[in-house]
């Protein structure tokens, strides 16, 4: 596996004719039915579509949690389909941060310990981990909440911890699967602003899955999924130079 370079030519995400089929034979279901998608470094992208349209499946593929049934997915030039489980785990560990709708924090661990966790698997010494985790929590506005467990935090705060955990490794790509789905609109807006700021200030490529139109309008680019295909793309507030996606429908 060649290392994905942080400043190389190839686009960060490049999907060509990607399908993802669950099951086999008669009961086979195509969650993705041939997707082409390019995401450049530094983009802020919304993935939209109704439930079951394949947007989460696409997200899992981009995040190297899953591999395509056919087609090619290159992450910063590396063919992900050819990687082993462990190699994909290492890729996630180094370059990808995840934020889930359900937060997915370790319930019995403090905010600081949750934030530290990816660094543990990177093998960083404890003092350095602590320092980086504190900084990440500070950047999501949770200074002073380090020792609280998720149960002691509000939903918005929990999602901030999850974001801190996702960015503590300084990833190239931040994937947020309906990050505001469990929050009220005010909290949701704050989380969105936080993600936009991380994209703007730290240059992290951010991809958000959502079905909130208002939320999608805040991003620079939005793509729409229906029945496992990308059916449209617009750039509500974005620059016109991100026209890499060929419409598949």
């Amino acid at each position: 596996m060649s290392e994905p370079a942080r400043d190389a030519r190839p686009p960060l995400v490049e999907l060509r004719g990607v399908t993802r089929i669950y099951g086999a034979g008669q009961t086979a279901v195509a969650a993705l039915a041939g997707i082409d998608l390019r995401i450049e470094r530094g983009e802020f992208l919304a993935v939209m579509g109704p439930s079951g349209s394949g947007k989460s499946t696409c997200m899992n593929l981009i995040g190297c949690l899953d591999t395509p049934s056919s087609g090619s997915y290159r992450f910063a030039g590396v063919e992900v389909g050819a990687l082993s489980r462990d190699q994909r785990a290492r890729l996630r560990r180094e370059y990808v941060g995840f934020v889930f709708q359900g937060f997915h924090l370790l319930g019995r661990s403090s905010a600081l310990e949750n934030t530290e966790l990816p660094l543990v698997y990177r093998g960083l010494p404890a003092a350095e981990r602590r320092e980086l985790a504190k900084r990440a929590l500070a950047s999501v506005g949770l200074t002073g909440w380090e020792s609280h467990t998720p149960a002691e935090l509000s939903g918005g705060q929990q999602q901030r911890v999850a974001i801190a955990r996702a960015i503590v490794t300084n990833p190239l790509l931040l994937l947020a699967d309906e990050p505001t789905g469990n929050l009220d609109s005010e909290r949701g807006r704050e989380i969105l602003e936080l993600l936009a700021r991380l994209n703007r200030e730290r240059g992290i490529t951010v991809v958000i899955v959502t079905h909130d139109e208002a939320l999608a309008r805040a991003t620079r680019r939005a793509i729409h999924f229906v029945d496992g295909r990308i059916v449209g793309e617009d750039a509500p507030s974005g620059s016109p130079d991100h026209d890499h996606t060929r419409e598949a429908a």
Binding site: L106, Y121, R165
Partner: protein, 402 residues
Amino acid sequence: MIGSMVRLALLAIRRNVLRSSLTMLGIVIGVAAVIAMVTIGAGATAKVTSDLASLGTNLLLIRPGQGQMGPGGARSDSAMFEAQDAGAILAEVGGVAAVAPTASRPVQAIAGSRNWSTSVTGSTASFLDVRSWVLSGGRSFTESEERAGKPVCLIGATVRRELFGGRDPLGERMRLGKLTCEVIGTLASKGESTFGQDQDDFVLVPLRWFQRRIAGNLEVGAIFASARDGVSTPKVQSDIERLLRERRRSPTGEDDFSVRDMKEIATAVTGTTRVLTGLLGAVAAVSLLVGGIGIMNIMLVSVTERTREIGIRLAIGALEREVLAQFLIEAVVLSSVGGVIGIAVGLALAIAGVRTLAVPFVFQPGIVVLAFVFSATVGVIFGYFPARQAARLDPIEALRHE
């Protein structure tokens, strides 16, 4: 990497104290029960074995009547022996080293202001040899004291303690009922018998004095005979039977006496103890099994509970083997800490048990190791394999797990 996995594992253990302590409890109970029961059983067996030695070597017990087993047996209607029967056995049966005719009855012993209910046994000086008694002080009867029936006595350790306390009883006078005798010797303690009687609770006097002054007859309740070393005890036993049959002119067939090899009795008791130890061991094995099932359940439940946690760890980039290492370390730590606590509790229970039962403490390293290894294996297997199942899941599937 192992260092951080160990830290993660210890953190997970600390973070869920209830789950951790329940897991350990299963191991503690299993290990402690096995160790306690087997150690106590071994102590009881050791006690019986040492009692066998204190019975005397090649000891035969000859009593009137049939079917009375053991020294506590009830009296029968059959005629008692006389002192001459004992003399005849010694003189006429080859291979007999010594005989001791005995007769006893309960008595109130008084010395100074203290008194004590005990029993008085009349016998000869050979009684000490035959029954393997050792003098702890003073001397035994002389032949002339025996013949003349002098009022002298030897006292067991219990009688000495109860009547004289810390005082030296030698040369003191004590009363047996209305009679007075002089203490000329003390006997070393033998402790409890296999049958749970205090063997040290008796006063030994010359048989003749006993017959004349205490019993008022010439009856002999039992004769102890010891066979010479290297002589077949069953042969001596049958020779004694033949002799007594002649002397007592018992009607055909029915013997009105019995000759028993004390070893037979003791062996029977040893057998019973072994069965008991086996039974305790079986009960302990069941508790070990139940403990094992407890560990298994908690481990299985907790892994199901933790599948989401495994999903989170995998999603943020943990390798399968790192997640496994953490769960394995958790299981090993819980199992070994539980095992060590179990060993400590088990030994403490065993010590308390042997004190209560007054048997020796026999440390059984084999059973300690066995119990520990069994519980630890169960803990590790059931901590590890369900975790492996979970760690092999797709991270997405594991995350969705409810």
